[in-house]
């Protein structure tokens, strides 16, 4: 029989929504369980073996303390493939919204105005700021089908493959009415697909929770936004919501085109 791959699931700072998405798909969970050797998955089992080398490490959450950097580096060292799972691990997520502002200590002290003894807190950053990541699977939370598809690919030694088109296209497939044309700021044209355009299908604007799609048509999006009286400032705020450290690149591109 073929040898099972050794896989670990880890969690840093976040809401646990990505690992929980896996746990909540109980129809598939047992099959996933049986197809691999689980080295660590503290959300679901007490079994763990910290010393074993890993074929694949899936990591949810962003890095928000010195202690987590050390732990992350240890996982990297022993893993052949490291996959950032979810928007926090991939781009920093919501909690990295102000990573460009450099006011972390002020904000930290406003919430915790006391001596903090149990960890050394840091501005939230995605995994790639500290270690090399091989792949990322974005989403807040991840889409289970997109995860499963890529989980199977990884088991077969194939690279992760993400949709190479934006939410806008998925939205068109569902034959929804365009929200931008109704003057609602929607990030569908800029955001990577993978969620089946859930929010626009419910008549609500895309909030960009899957992060940016790299080959986006910025000029066209800017034009439509301007024609519909959506201000650049409003767009900037929306982009910063979920895109963490990636927001800057996109905003720079936008400013150049403006």
């Amino acid at each position: 029989m073929e040898k099972k791959l050794k896989v670990g699931f880890y969690e840093f700072t976040g809401c646990a929504g990505d690992l929980l998405t896996i746990v909540h798909n109980e129809d598939y969970l047992l099959k996933i369980w049986n197809s691999i050797e689980i080295v660590s998955f503290r959300l679901a089992t007490s079994k763990r073996n910290e010393k074993t080398n890993l074929d694949i490490a899936f990591i949810e959450g962003s890095i928000t303390s010195e202690e987590q950097i050390e732990e992350l580096k240890k996982i990297r060292e022993k893993s052949k493939i490291l996959v950032a799972l979810g928007t926090c691990a991939s781009f920093g997520g919501l909690q990295s919204m102000y990573s460009h502002a450099g006011d972390f200590l002020t904000r930290f002290n406003s919430v915790y105005p006391h001596k903090f003894t149990i960890l050394k807190p840091l501005e939230s950053k995605p995994l790639e700021n500290y270690v090399k990541i091989d792949y990322f699977i974005p989403g807040c939370p991840i889409d289970f089908k997109l995860f499963l598809f890529n989980f199977i690919r990884l088991l077969r030694n194939l690279p992760v493959e993400l949709p190479s088109y934006p939410v806008c296209l998925e939205c068109k497939w569902q034959e929804n009415n365009c929200l931008l044309l109704k003057r609602i700021p929607c990030l569908g044209p800029l955001t990577r697909a993978g969620c089946t355009a859930r929010c626009p299908t419910n008549n609500l604007p895309c909030v960009g929770c899957f992060g940016p799609y790299e080959d986006l048509n910025i000029s066209s999006w800017l034009k439509i936004s301007q024609e519909n009286n959506i201000s650049f400032k409003e767009l900037e705020k929306k982009i910063r919501l979920f895109w963490g450290i990636k927001a800057k690149e996109i905003l720079d591109q936008l400013k150049n085109k403006k």
């Binding site: 646990a16 929504g17 503290r42 007490s46 303390s65 919204m97 008549n203």
Partner: protein
Amino acid sequence: MKKIKVDLVTRVEGHGNIYIEIYKNKFKSIKFEIPEGPRLFETLVVNKNPEEVLNIVCRICAICNVSHRYSAIRALEKIGNIKVPHEIILLRDLAHYGEMLESHALHLFFLALPDFLGFPDAVNMAQKFPDLVQIGLRIKKFGNFLMEKILGRMMHGENMVIGGFGRYLTAEELMDIKKEAEQLLPEAIKSWEITRDLHYTTFGEESMLFVCLKPPTDEYGFWGDEILISNGEEYLVEKFYSLIEEKIIPHSSAKHAYYQNRPYMVGALARMSLLGERLHNASAEAFKKSYSLSWIRNPLYNNLAQAIEIIFSLEKVISTVDELLKKTPLEETLITYQKFNGKAVGSVEAPRGTLFHYYEFKNKKCVKANLIIPTAQNYASIEQHLKICACNIIKKFGVKEDELIDESEKIIRAYDPCISCSCHIVRIS
């Protein structure tokens, strides 16, 4: 000095550890430590408009995302002076019951019951009690199905917004929901019976202080604008919110909340103790057959209270669907608001207790926010009961590490501090 450290890898907003210090065979101190990475949500919502606040706050927790969203909506609609029709509240409640079912099922069947039935985890428990684990899985799945249908996604679905929903359920979807709830109800009653017959270790004689929201009608329910306290006091939510003393504890990144210098408990046990008389039908019967005076002295009964709330939620799903069917198809209402100024507290009962969201707005922009979550309110009570329990054990059996660790974990899990996963490692120094 002997120190016992338990690295409970519980999902207590991440991680929680217990430290027990014993000096010359006598109990010295106990700490429930929360080394969770900070996310500073209170600062993330500043400068955002009401819709963006909702995008952000549901993501505080993957398990209670509906409660966070619902609390925020209740605060924001107060600020914007927005009144929504009854059927919208019904649909929101339906999603909220989904969250109760998912969260309670996950906690009760997979985290708490293995402790009581003597198994290390649910997988092992399934070998002797396959039906029980199956029921748990089905209830959890149904809760998630409700949230996915109504909110657009199992978690962090955006469909519930200020003033209503982006999309409403069809009659067919509502019927599917009702059918499954009807099938699950007898199974939920069976699992309550098993939970009732468990052995609950007794504690000291001190009764606990319970707090929960008082539903606006004389029914049992999960939201309201007034607070009930087991000492007989009642307050408007805003008033009680201002009376909560939040203490900052160096060993925890979550604040500890006190009322009149006393720890208090929120959650299913508090709700059942204060509102149980308001139940009807099967949940009322279950309550009558379970409730005793030991409930007010023992947090472990939170598990049994959750089992009754599962029955209640399923019954409410059925009756809420019936009410909604009369109004279906629901018409899309577009809410526009001109002014958005002022401050308000919005509150709902999350699965693990009363949740407070406070916001201040100026010209449609949030200028200040504060959130008091159930687990922060329960910490002081958790530490108090850990202490009582440790003293009792040491007095009775001497310093027995295994006993101390097992019982401490059982207490922490009973409070259901977010999902507490059943795994842990123990280090003794």
